[in-house]
C-alpha cells in the first residue's frame, strides 16, 4: 500500500501534446473536461483508491517569518515564471505501476477538439512510516 500525490500544474509543467489554453476551448469542451475529472475521481472512490483531491486558485503569495514581534512578510502576486500548482489528487494504491497507470488515465482528459490533452502530471510518492521488521 502506498500513497501518491498527483499534481496538476497551471504552469511550470512540461508542455502537453494538445497545448491549447483552456480559454480557447469551446464551452462544451470545458464541460467535457470537467466531467472527465469528476468521473475519474468517482471511479477511484469505487475502487477504494481515492484519498483526497482539491483544486487551488492560481492567486496567492509568498509568506515568511520576519523576526520576533514583527508581522510576517508577504510577497505577491506570484511572478509569471513561478511553477504554479493547479490542484492535487491523493491516491492509495498497491504499487507504483498502478499509480503511473492512473496518472496516465488522468492525463488523457479531453481538451481542445475533444482530444486528450496528454498533460504532464507530477507523481510523488509519500514518505512512509518505518516498517516494523527492520533486518
Amino acid at each position: 500500500m502506498a500513497k501518491y500525490l498527483l499534481l496538476k500544474h497551471y504552469r511550470g509543467a512540461k508542455t502537453p501534446v494538445n497545448d491549447v489554453p483552456m480559454d480557447k476551448w469551446t464551452p462544451e469542451e470545458v464541460s467535457a473536461h470537467m466531467q472527465y475529472m469528476w468521473d475519474f475521481s468517482a471511479q477511484l472512490e469505487k475502487t477504494g483508491e481515492w484519498v483526497d483531491g482539491q483544486a487551488l486558485a492560481p492567486t496567492g503569495m509568498w509568506v515568511r517569518y520576519d523576526g520576533e514581534d514583527r508581522p510576517p512578510v508577504t510577497d505577491g502576486p506570484f511572478a509569471e515564471t513561478k511553477d504554479l500548482i493547479a490542484g492535487w489528487m491523493i491516491i492509495d494504491v498497491d504499487s507504483e505501476k498502478r499509480a503511473i497507470e492512473l496518472a496516465g488515465e488522468l492525463s488523457a482528459a479531453p481538451g481542445a477538439g475533444g482530444r486528450p490533452i496528454h498533460e504532464w502530471l507530477e507523481v510523488r510518492p509519500f514518505l512512509t512510516g518505518p516498517p516494523t521488521i527492520t533486518e
Partner: protein, 384 residues
C-alpha cells in the same frame, strides 16, 4: 466488555452463518452489525453465552437483509427457515475464513482490509483510520473484495503462504493510529497458529513476537529512530522474546525450514545478545545464507552484507555488497555504513546524504540525514 474477546468470536460467528448457507458478503455485513449491537448492549446486559448471542443476532440480521433484498428484487424464495448449525468445528471454519480473505484473486490491499474486518472483527472506520484513507474508500475496497471472492467455495483448502503474506503486511505496516496493527497481526497469527499446525505459521508468529518485543526501544521520545546497536536493551519485552524463542525452537525442531523461521532465527540471535557487541554475527551470516537458499529476494543478500561487515570486517562487507543492484532499497545506506567502518568518513558522509534522498520513509530519511551531518561536522569543524 472485552473487545478482544468479541473480535476473537468474529470469524467463528461468521463461519456459522456461512455454513448455514448465507452468502459470505451478506453474512459478513450481518456479523458487523451484530458486533456493533454487542458493543452497545453488552455493558448493561452481558449475555451468558456470547457466541450464541452473536450467532442469533447476526442470523436474524442476515434474514432481515435477505428479505429486504428479496423484496427489492420482487423475489420471495429466500431462506426463511432457520437451518441446523453446520457440522464443522469452529477452528476449521476460522481457518477457511483466513484462506478466503487472503485469496490469490485479491490485491494485497484488498486482502489486508478484508482480513482485518472479517477475521479481525475491526470496523471499517478503524481499518480506514489505521491506513489513513477515507472511510468511504475503505468501505468500497472491502465490498469489492467481497464481490471478488463471492464465487470461491468456502470448503476449498487454501494456501497458507498467501495468508502469511497478508499477516506479514499487516504487521509491517508503519502507521499507528487507534488500532495497533502490529499487535492485531500478532493476535491474528496466534489465532491462525491455533487453527493449523504448520512450522511457517509458527515461524511468522515467532518473528512477530521477537520484533514487537523491541518496538518500544526503537523510537526515541522525539520520534526519531534508534538503531539496534544503540537501543536500551532493558526496554525490550523479555516475556515476548522468551515466547518467541520457544515457539521458534519448537518449529525448527521439526526440520521443515522456511523463510519466516529463518528470519525469526536472525531476530532471535539479536534478541539473545546482552549487548550489541556480543551479537553472534557469524551465526547470523549463516542464517542469511540459509535464507538466501530459501528465497531469491535480493534484500536478503543486502542484509547479509551488513552481517558480513560485522562478522568479518567492513572490507568483507563491501565485497559482499559488490555485485548487488545499487537501486535496491537501503543499498546506499548500507554502503555508507560500511565505508564509515572502513575509515572513510568523506565517502560515508556523501553516501549517507545520498541515501537520505532516496529513502522512502520519513524516520529513516531523518536518521540518515543526521548521520551525514554528524560526519560532516567532524570532517569540517567550524563550518556548521
Amino acid at each position: 466488555m472485552n473487545e478482544v474477546l468479541l473480535r476473537t468470536l468474529t470469524p467463528e460467528v461468521l463461519a456459522v452463518l456461512v455454513r448455514r448457507g448465507a452468502d459470505f458478503a451478506a453474512a459478513e455485513d450481518a456479523v458487523q452489525e451484530a458486533l456493533i449491537e454487542a458493543v452497545r448492549s453488552w455493558p448493561d446486559d452481558p449475555p451468558r453465552d456470547p457466541k450464541g448471542w452473536l450467532v442469533t443476532v447476526a442470523w436474524r440480521r442476515f434474514l432481515d437483509i435477505a428479505r429486504a433484498d428479496a423484496a427489492r428484487r420482487r423475489r420471495e424464495d429466500v431462506v426463511e427457515e432457520e437451518p441446523q448449525p453446520g457440522p464443522a468445528s469452529g477452528v476449521d471454519d476460522t481457518l477457511q475464513l483466513y484462506f478466503l480473505c487472503a485469496h490469490p484473486s485479491l490485491t494485497p490491499s484488498s486482502a489486508v482490509a478484508l482480513t482485518l474486518r472479517a477475521v479481525g472483527g475491526l470496523t471499517t472506520r478503524q481499518i480506514a483510520g489505521a491506513y489513513l484513507v477515507p472511510e468511504a474508500s475503505m468501505a468500497q475496497r472491502i465490498s469489492r473484495a467481497k464481490r471478488t471472492v463471492s464465487g470461491v467455495r468456502f470448503d476449498q483448502p487454501g494456501d497458507v503462504a498467501t495468508v502469511l503474506r497478508v499477516l506479514y503486511l499487516v504487521f509491517n505496516e508503519g502507521y499507528s493510529g487507534d488500532v495497533d496493527l502490529a499487535a492485531e497481526a500478532v493476535r491474528l497469527t496466534r489465532q491462525l497458529a491455533a487453527a493449523i499446525d504448520h512450522p511457517e505459521v509458527a515461524g511468522l508468529l515467532a518473528l512477530m513476537l521477537l520484533h514487537n518485543a523491541r518496538r518500544a526501544a526503537r523510537t526515541a521520545p522525539d520520534g526519531s529512530l534508534v538503531p539496534l546497536a544503540e537501543q536500551d536493551r532493558s526496554r525490550w519485552d523479555t516475556t515476548a522474546i522468551a515466547e518467541g524463542v520457544e515457539i521458534l525452537q519448537a518449529a525448527l525442531a521439526r526440520d521443515r525450514l522456511g523463510e519466516f523461521q529463518a528470519q525469526a532465527a536472525i531476530a532471535a540471535l539479536h534478541a539473545d545478545a546482552p549487548t550489541a557487541a556480543e551479537t553472534d554475527w557469524v551465526q547470523i551470516v549463516e542464517w542469511y545464507d540459509e535464507l538466501a537458499r530459501l528465497t531469491d529476494n535480493p534484500i536478503v543478500r543486502l542484509n547479509r552484507a551488513v552481517a558480513v561487515g560485522e562478522a568479518d570486517g567492513p572490507r568483507a562487507g563491501l565485497a559482499a555488497l559488490a555485485g548487488l543492484d545499487e537501486s535496491l532499497p537501503r543499498h546506499t545506506a548500507v554502503a555508507a555504513w560500511l565505508h564509515e567502518r572502513d575509515g572513510d568518513p568523506a565517502t560515508a558522509a556523501r553516501l549517507y546524504a545520498d541515501a537520505a534522498r532516496k529513502s522512502p520513509n520519513l524516520a529513516e530519511r531523518d536518521h540518515l540525514t543526521r548521520q551525514a551531518a554528524r560526519l560532516n561536522t567532524r570532517l569540517h569543524p567550524g563550518e556548521a
